[in-house]
């Protein structure tokens, strides 16, 4: 039992938090800009490498440089939106989807070109887990990741429910046409969407890097589970995306628990398939997700 908590459930929640942060950006872009942003994983990647460089340069902890890194990442994303997505704002959706696919490849190549392809570590050394009740082992970095995720989610909740621009984001997610007719500055809403998405993606990437390591494929590997989380929660439902992220994170981890006998139920190598299976199942049986999202 305690092994289940230590090695499956808690890591699942950590992974789930990371998916959740990334999925919020996906679901907001999907519902407000009305396209599936394939480059979201690469936004994460870019954020991670910028953070890594700032850590190398300043010697500070990744969490301390995270706000600066997030800001630089957001600037890059805003530039990309301006240069590559904005021209397609009134075109059929498929065009901007393909543009984002192209951006995904381009950003990854630029990252590989600047920072190289070898593995890197965000933090040095190994942390000792904290031990509770003689058996429950929680590593301090996991505590940090989960608490930082909670803080970020509260911030997103405040933004969306209490601020004018946040309410406008929800309004535009309901109906971009009516938002325009109402006089809402839709370009401002779009910018805010990128700011929120870029910041959360950077945070998610950095948390993943702290938990594991840095490599140039990490963004792409995160893309599918993030989309699965967004769809599971319902497109346009940020807190659905959080629930979706947590569910997928936990299910991926516990799928390799030896539920029957002593062998892992599912070879850990197939973990990624779990998210995919959940996504396909949702799309087939309940495309609006758990929280009544949009269906395009």
């Amino acid at each position: 039992m305690i092994e289940f908590l230590n090695f499956y459930l808690i890591p699942g929640l950590v992974l789930g938090s990371i998916y959740a942060l990334g999925a919020i950006g996906i679901t907001l872009t999907f519902s407000i800009l009305r396209f599936a942003n394939f480059a979201h994983g690469e936004t994460m990647l870019l954020g991670v490498y910028i953070t890594w460089s700032l850590v190398q340069f300043s010697g500070l902890h990744p969490l301390i440089v995270l706000p600066v890194a997030a800001m630089l990442t957001v600037l890059a994303v805003l530039f990309i939106d301006r240069a590559f997505y904005k021209p397609f704002r009134t075109s059929p959706t498929i065009m901007v989807v393909i543009a984002s696919f192209g951006m995904m490849l381009m950003i990854r190549s630029v990252v590989q070109f600047i920072w190289g392809v070898q593995l890197k570590g965000m933090t040095q050394g190994i942390q000792r887990p904290m031990v509770f009740f003689d058996s429950l082992r929680i590593s301090p970095k996991h505590v940090m990741i989960i608490s930082a995720t909670i803080v970020l989610m509260l911030a997103v909740h405040y933004l969306l429910s209490r601020t004018k621009i946040g309410k406008a984001m929800r309004a535009m997610s309901d109906s971009p046409e009516l938002a325009k007719l109402t006089g809402i500055d839709t370009e401002k809403v779009v910018r805010m969407t990128w700011i929120v998405g870029g910041t959360l993606a950077t945070a998610a990437g950095v948390f993943l890097a702290i938990d594991t390591h840095i490599d140039t494929n990490m963004g792409f590997k995160m893309l599918l589970p993030m989309f699965a989380a967004a769809i599971l929660g319902g497109i346009g439902r940020p807190f659905g995306a959080v629930a979706g992220g947590l569910i997928i994170g936990v299910v991926e981890e516990i799928s390799s628990y030896p539920w029957i006998g002593t062998e892992p139920l599912l070879n850990p190598g197939y973990k990624a398939g779990v998210a995919f299976a959940i996504m396909i199942a949702m799309l087939l049986w309940r495309p609006s997700g758990l929280f009544k999202g949009k269906v395009f």
């Binding site: 929800r170 109402t182 006089g183």
Partner: protein, 238 residues
Amino acid sequence: MSVLELDAVVGGYGDTQILHGVSMKVDPGEIVVIIGPNGAGKSTAMKAVFGLLNLSSGKVSLDGEDITNMPPEQVVRHGVCYVPQTSNIFPSLTVEENLEMGAFVREDDFQPRLRELYEVFPPLAEKRRQTAGTLSGGQRQMVAMAKAMMLEPKILLLDEPTAGLSPKYRGEIFSIVKTVNATGTPILMVEQNAKQALKIANRGYVLVDGKNKFEGSGQSLLDDPEVAEMFLGGGAAA
């Protein structure tokens, strides 16, 4: 001077011409109704005001200022508010959030205006914290109108505000239109329920095939046998 004036407007969507020279005007304090058969271009004429249409010729002016082909977000800032026939509220926002969004372009404090509108629309005050998508059709229509009124517009455009409503709500909406108008806001509206609409209207226009066919005071159109025959279901004396 008229608040709003359309002068020989020609236009449509893409290559399809729908309006072939429509002229109309709304004077201060008036309720003006556009009626006509389906496909006559009633809603399209309204969209022409709001910059949702490409006009190939003609002119739209607001308080004498040329707003022809101005994009909708700008038209709003100039004080024209438009309530589309469908999808005219943000269903996942609360009633109060909907009204707040209506005030998006306002820089000043809109709270006094919000309180005023809650007095005009008492059911909305009651349901201010409720998600707008859960309201009944008539109440949604109220949200849509109140949302548009948040800006204290120079003119309010209503596209078939009573479409799909039960007779009870229909009457209620017409009386709200009158109340809103009594606060000094001129109204241009498209209506299918022509008889009821003309009764509260100062003037009306009948559009057929994208052109002006008849115009006159609400009462004179109601009394006109030809109009009655064609659009009011026969029998001038309603």
